[in-house]
């Protein structure tokens, strides 16, 4: 049995990648042509952007705090505690801000999209939408794609900012660094290339979250049980993709900016 299944398994994976690419391609294409569902875009921006704000602020803030604590301890050995600010800022902006925000929003919204579209699929609401003359990709996927990419970009900036602020708070209160030296060092170390690299990542993560979440939602089969499975798969796949693509983008950015 397992031997027979390898072929059909491979076929299924290839078909899956093909379907996913088609969906992503059509969603992007739909963003550039009318009609656009603005009210849907606004409500998704609200649910993704405003709704994710608390978790993004909390994770960003405490990541900044813990980063300051860890780097100060390590830097003390070399007598370089005053470099804490730069280290926190660089780590937050280049790596932790974008990745953690992506993962948090993936856990919250890729799952949300998969379960919402999945329930619509199993209760035939997607078919009903098609029967009523609306393209579900245009009405459901494209607005989620646009809203996620747009909002994740700003959520990442917020995460970076509160992370640096959290680091500053820990550095001044627990480590005893003067506020001005923390900020000055952060500002010195952050280069244009780092900021661009850090800001490029959420564009990819947002794309992954929305397309993977919607893809698993729209291909749901097997009733409510299938919805649960689609939700889990969406979060797992989008999280792994975010980390893999983070690596690829980092490599690319090092190629471009050389650091």
């Amino acid at each position: 049995m397992p031997f027979l299944n390898i072929e059909s398994f491979a076929k299924k994976q290839v078909a899956g990648v093909q379907d996913y690419s088609l969906l992503a391609g059509r969603a992007v294409a739909n963003l550039f042509t009318a009609p656009r569902y603005w009210s849907e875009i606004w409500s998704q921006m609200d649910s993704i952007g405003v709704g994710s704000m608390p978790i993004v602020i909390l994770t960003g803030f405490f990541t900044g705090c813990v980063l300051a604590l860890q780097s100060a301890t390590a830097l003390k050995e070399f007598g370089a505690v005053n470099k804490t600010g730069g280290l926190v800022a660089l780590s937050m902006v280049k790596e932790l801000g974008p990745v953690l925000t992506g993962l948090m929003v993936s856990g919250r919204n890729a799952s949300g999209m998969a379960s919402e579209l999945g329930s619509m699929k199993v209760t035939e609401q997607i078919d009903a939408m098609r029967a009523l003359g609306t393209d579900p990709i245009r009405k459901l996927v494209a607005p989620r794609l646009f809203a996620t990419v747009f909002m994740l970009f700003f959520l990442t900036i917020i995460s970076d900012a509160v992370g640096i602020a959290g680091g500053a708070l820990v550095s001044t209160t627990l480590i005893g660094l003067p506020w001005s030296s923390y900020i000055a060092d952060s500002y010195d170390k952050l280069l244009y290339g780092d900021v661009v690299a850090g800001m490029t990542k959420p564009l990819f993560s947002g794309f992954i979250i929305a397309t993977v979440g919607c893809y698993f939602g729209l291909k749901t089969t097997g009733g409510t049980q299938g919805v649960g499975k689609a939700t889990t798969e969406a979060v797992v796949v989008s999280s792994v993709f975010i980390i893999v693509v983070d690596f690829l983008v980092t490599r690319l950015m090092i190629g471009i900016f050389g650091s």
Binding site: Q125, A128, M129, R130, A131, L132, G133
Partner: protein, 275 residues
């Protein structure tokens, strides 16, 4: 209710509204429908009967292009849909109303927005759309539920909202998938009455799936009386001559014809099924 902007039936006035020729479809290697051919002429009501799981809903989704056949051709209003892409299908679907087996109302929208879905998509002005929604809900006798959400409705009420959503644009073809399925006899009769009313008032071509043979015979033997606003038996044991029957079993057609032909059928399987 105003007719759709472009009367599609004028495109091919003599073509049957629905025309299946040698249609087959399967899922994951399992055949569901095998070599199905039938036609529905303008103004006819085709009642589809058959045991559970024999492929009735699949057949209806094929007629609306929600599924595409593995082989064979399907023509709707004389246009071959098996060759169309999804975008061309949207144009055609403007003329088709569909009532899904489980109603398939949008949970996130109120009854009003569900019924007005198509009108909103066409950017009809809000007050005009509202008037039409009220009219459609009155037709299904649910005007009081306009502000409710689908989760607050009973199964029979959802079915009626779903009918209102399907008929609001006065489509040229209506597909009813088990509109009385899982309902008590009284509610079923209310829904059958709505279908008879739609048939006799608008003369819309329709396909109707049902599990309840008594509903099928009620449809064939009753007419809508505009004066009383209720349906009544056709006098002298008369039969509605636009009613046709299609019986499926295990993916194949076992009977196709008029009500008289069905009652006179000698086929043992059909006799047992009707009994």
């Amino acid at each position: 209710m105003a007719k759709s902007a472009r009367p599609i039936e004028d495109l091919h006035p003599d073509a049957p509204v629905v025309d299946f020729a040698n249609v087959s479809i399967g899922f994951e290697g399992k055949h569901v429908l095998k070599d199905i051919s039938f036609r529905v002429e303008r103004g006819q009501t085709m009642i589809i009967l058959g045991p559970a799981g024999c492929g009735k809903s699949v057949l209806m989704k094929l007629a609306n292009g929600l599924l595409s056949p593995d082989s064979g051709t399907i023509k709707i209003f004389g246009q071959e849909i098996s060759a169309m892409d999804e975008r061309q299908m949207f144009g055609l679907r403007e003329h088709i109303g569909m009532v899904f087996q489980e109603s398939a109302l949008f949970d996130s929208l109120s009854v009003e927005d569900n019924v007005a879905y198509r009108l909103h998509e066409e950017h009809m002005p809000e007050d005009e759309a509202h008037t039409k929604v009220v009219e459609a809900l009155k037709f299904v006798e649910l005007a009081a539920a306009i502000a409710k959400f689908p989760s607050e409705l009973s199964g029979g009420m959802r079915r009626r909202v779903s009918i209102a959503r399907a008929i609001i644009t006065a489509p040229d073809l209506i597909l009813y998938d088990s509109p009385t399925g899982g309902l008590d006899p009284i509610t079923s009769t209310t829904i059958v009455e709505l279908i008879v009313k739609q048939r006799d008032v608008s003369h819309t071509t329709s396909l109707l799936i049902t599990h309840r043979i008594q509903d099928a015979f009620t449809l064939a033997t009753h007419q809508f009386n505009k004066a009383t606003g209720h349906m009544e038996p056709i006098p002298n044991g008369g039969i509605d001559d636009s009613t046709r029957f299609l019986i499926l079993n295990e993916g194949s057609i076992v009977f196709r014809g008029s009500t008289q032909e069905l009652v006179r059928s000698e086929d043992p399987w059909i006799r047992e099924y009707l009994a």
